[in-house]
Amino acid sequence: MSIPALVTAVVAAAVIVASRGLRQRAQAVVLPIFTGILLLAVWHLWAESTWYELATPGQPTRRVEVFPTPGRVLPAFAELASDGRIFRYIIASLFRVATGFGVAALIGIPLGLYAGWSTRGGYAIDPYIAALRPISPIAWIPISTLAFGIKDEAAIFIIFMGAFFPIVTGAATAVRSMPIAYVRAAHNFGLRKWELLRFVVFPAALPQIITSLRIALGIGWLVVVAAEMTAIQSGLGFLIVDARNMGMRYDLVVAGMIVIGAIGIGLDWLVRRLERLDSVRWGFSKE
């Protein structure tokens, strides 16, 4: 088995090196495919080399694989899909992230705008945001399970703690870095307090708020897996610990990890779509 894998790895590496001669558009297609093939081949070679011989008295010696090869992970997907488990877990995880992230945005955006806009608001809120922010959301797991039990709410709270602080600081920083000319122009043209907030401060801060939402959603997706490993018994995080604890099914562990990565890319892609809206595009151009 390892000879074809070795050949594949060498061919992939050769193509990557030779791609220098291709046009840029061809490189953009060829390079990601062949680094993928190379990585799979290296994974296969490495996983195959980790085995030991199990000698049981009275039986022939067996060869036991420690790490799953790519070829063994593929059927794991089919197994997870066939009983519908993977879909239930994906929905459970997404629901928790959406709720925790949504509540964080709902509270975090107005609070951040207020802290950034009002000097008094900044004085009152800033030190506590600064002090709570460096505490890993994972550190809240014991408190959260104590408060909510082994329930959805426990995981949602932990995701909230992960997503909330980047959103508050993002919104506050956005308001503080706003050019003073915007506010002066608004005052000059007779805008009232709420109009100023609605038509100037909020749109001026929006690109940076979207960036902070993107970071917060990324953190939320990181944290949900950790929360589900301890605070609850469903979801993709639970799938991973469960697969290990119930029969050392490392093929299922890896399949679960790949699903987590793919969904993470999807979530990031969704938020990035927001950056293309007409009213925020100005904040993302390289000009």
Partner: protein, 256 residues
Amino acid sequence: MPPQSEMPPKIVVRGLTKRFRRGNEEFTALAPVDLDIAQGELVCLLGPSGCGKSTLLNLLAGFDEASGGTVHIDGEPVRTPDPRRVFVFQEYGIFPWATVRENISLGLRRRPEAERREIVERYIDLVGLRGFENSYPGEISGGMKQRVAVARALAVSPEVVFMDEPFGALDSLTRLSMRQELRRIWQLERLTIVLVTHDVDEALQLADRVVVMTSSPGRIAATIPVGLEHPRDVLSPAYGTLRKHLFGLLGVQDGV
């Protein structure tokens, strides 16, 4: 129309000063300044950076609080910005998240819908932005952005327009055509304009009167009336004499 000397000045500045604190040190950005500006006059504040010309403009517009002295416009003391006196910023003044049309209607929120639309369309035409009314500032040139700022200011029918180096970010050809346009609009609307610049030719081409300012501390060095007919011929001897005189007042040698 009575001679200007019989009308009370539009803007009256008396003993206006501004001091800033920099750590423990206090420094004077603007030494006491007296200045009268007539209704319908176009005045340029000319000077190097640090001469207090922008400080003076911000005080006139009510964006900043004076350390001493007073500004009166039509006999009323100036304390806060007011839509009757609008400010055109050099950069960032217009909102990048709003279209050209939305930017121009900024000051017209409380007008009836039909009136607002009529005014906005009129000023889009006046500054030559037809065809770009739905564009965002990021999609148009620097000169066009500055026209949006001018249109937004004029749309509220102000009595006074303050401009802080409005054409500073533009290339020299665009700058020249913007000056011609400003002069044309000024004649149409009979506005009072106070414009800050560090460009001697800009001041000489535009102004009825040039207020020359010098630094440390910022103060008015001289007030020079420019009695030249428009369009002004930059190669005429009279223009050349004034130009030399202004450079002399600024302590700079003309010619490289």
